[in-house]
Amino acid sequence: MSALQDEAQPRGAKIKGNKPVDQLEAANRFIAASAHQKMHDERLWDLRKKRDAQMHLISEWEELRELASDIKSHTLDHLADYLEEFERNAKANGVHVHWAKDAQESNQIITDILKEHNAKTLVKSKSMLGEECRLRQHLEENDIHVIETDLGERIQQLDHEDPSHVVVPAVHKTRTDVSKVFVKTLNAEQGNNDVHYLAETQRENTRPYILNADAGMTGGNFLVAETGAVVVCTNEGNADLSANTPPLHIVTVGIEKIIPKMEHLAVFIRLLSRSALGSPITQYTSYFRGPRKGGEMHVVLVDNGRSTRLASKKFKAGLKCIRCGACMNTCPVFRRSGGLSYGSVYAGPIGLILSPTFNTHKYRNLPFASTLNGSCTNVCPVKINLHEQVFAWRETLADEKELSLSKRILMTAMGKLLAHPKAYRTAVQTGDKVLSYLPHFVVYNKLNAWGRQRDLPPAPKETFHSWYAKNYKNKGKTDE
């Protein structure tokens, strides 16, 4: 406990403009903060275990995943039709529908709506799209005061950090870290690390903002084409408060969030919270089909690279994602690295495959932050072949000359050596002393990365190859 309280919070990746993010560097610092890392790993693993327990309660679990995947694939194949159907129905319900090509346009549309309504304060529930578009930062530059209403998101806002996880944004922080932030920003009692106290402090601090805000904003987990409705899943009730208290409700949502019908919604609601947190459902599953009496509702449909991704046969599947975070919870690399080490809005397995679609050069290291173990693919409720996409990204990076120099040199050399048996044997058996007892990919690494924290097996007297040559003289074929 005291180690957890004393240890300084490790910070995320160092962002240097467009330079490739060094995920490993940040991950190493996270691991070095061992109490934080341990808490982070155990907490996310606990979510994974709770998810498993829910799975075992639902006999049709795998069938639901298959359905969810099929519904998403079908929808992506008919995306334009469903978006038009949604727009038609939403408009008929009295909702204003806007379309934004990219983050910049989306931010502008939202700023314009707020300015038209003379809105100075905005209460906002969690939206990954908002993070993707840097919406909060944009609004604040335009003198609009934004208050995140989700506890985790609020912590991150007050600490000037991005969310480290799509569902639990402050999962990398300890209660002490949170207390320090609240002492500085919310006038909380110094040294009071009680979690109930901290949560209550935020509740009481946020409530006046909610009551007096000029506008409220939510994201959207699903859009239902058939009814023109937006569905939002939360646990704290902050989305419903943000949407229902101020006179103006703005929804910002990615175009891939659409599903055709209400019957399809059931499949996703059954899977979402069970996969994310291991709870049967979120406390609130809210359905906004039109403005309330005297209120106004706007939906901003945002593309921001999605239609381009749709054209990519290889990476289209990433658009099925429902942002449950299950892939992060199960990812052994994520649990050891912390979400902020990725230096990208989307972290963990889904981040490895989405981030390079936004900026291939900057995020070129991310697809290597994976052992390709495949656990992510197995937990994904919409059956995105995550680890295969990570694998495919590596090939794309190589094709686009986005591999680091050291990887390129090493792989070219190895490819040549391994294609030539004689050269290879010479290297292993007679040539390089080091090669006689080290796997080649280890020794090519000048820094001896293997040996820093691991011992090496003692060198055997001879290779299998020479043993066989001695003992099975007439077998095998050789041109030696």
Binding site: I31, H56, N378, A398, H440, Q453, G476
Partner: protein
């Protein structure tokens, strides 16, 4: 039945005794085993780094070495997965297709092809934890996976259950990756080592004396971590147990 034996590059250099156990074990079942001399590697380091073009010649060489056999067997789930699922850098000729289709990992070969029902020569009176290589588990389906709602099965456990004396212990995180990951182990050293250390501690807490796996690569990494940490755990390949080389 003509079988070509492939010995993974790291095993050839570092753990020849596992190769020997594999060969001797196969011979016990009257299998005509040959070790083609010109073999090098399955190409995984390049392929998994995205360098498919650089892997092409290695893949070609592999096919050239093994096309003549009815079966290609190797004591590695990971390399088998590479041959079966990732030999895509070369033209898919008849030979390539034949090799991909008939390459088996040792566990699969004993369990599914030879359908071995006894290892009367083997006794191993120890508590063991099984380690599943991720490619063997989720690529080849050596066993049921904890993330899926599916009935339990385990081919390595089926085989090991036929050896006298073994007591199985379970890990808290039974199929969590150990962090080896091929080139990951050196490219992403810090995270890899941390995962390895956590795996070793899980094994240690389980009360296991031995960790047994169908893949030496993961074991080499775990053993390296355990030795450095001073944790007293032994590691062995399943071939060594099934052939009765350790007791």
């Amino acid at each position: 039945m003509k079988v070509g034996l492939f010995i993974p590059c790291y095993m050839d250099a570092l753990e020849p005794e596992v190769g020997i156990s594999t060969l001797k074990l196969l011979e016990r079942f009257n299998v005509d085993v040959t070790y083609p001399f010109d073999q090098t590697c399955c190409g995984q380091p390049m392929t998994n780094t995205g360098c498919h073009k650089e892997a092409a010649e290695t893949e070609k060489l592999f096919v050239k070495n093994f096309a003549e056999f009815d079966y290609i067997v190797m004591p590695s789930g990971s390399c088998t997965n590479q041959v079966r699922h990732h030999f895509d850098a070369i033209d898919q000729t008849k030979e390539v297709q034949h090799v991909r289709k008939n390459t088996y990992d040792l566990v699969e070969f004993l369990h599914d092809i030879l359908k071995v029902d006894a290892f009367p020569w083997a006794t191993f009176s120890h508590k063991i934890a099984i380690h599943y290589n991720c490619n063997a588990l989720r690529g080849l389906r050596h066993a049921s996976m904890s993330e899926r709602r599916e009935p339990f099965f385990s081919k390595p456990k089926d085989l090991l259950s036929k050896v006298k004396g073994i007591e199985f212990v379970e890990l808290e995180r039974p199929d969590e990756c150990c962090g080896f990951g091929g080139t990951f182990s050196v490219f992403e050293e810090g995270v890899s080592a941390k995962m390895g250390q956590d795996k070793v501690m899980d094994q240690h807490r389980s009360g296991a004396e031995y960790v047994i796996s169908a893949d030496s690569s993961c074991l080499m990494h775990q053993k390296g971590c355990a030795m450095r940490m001073g944790v007293n755990l032994k590691y062995a390949h399943i071939a060594q147990i099934l052939n009765g080389d350790l007791s």
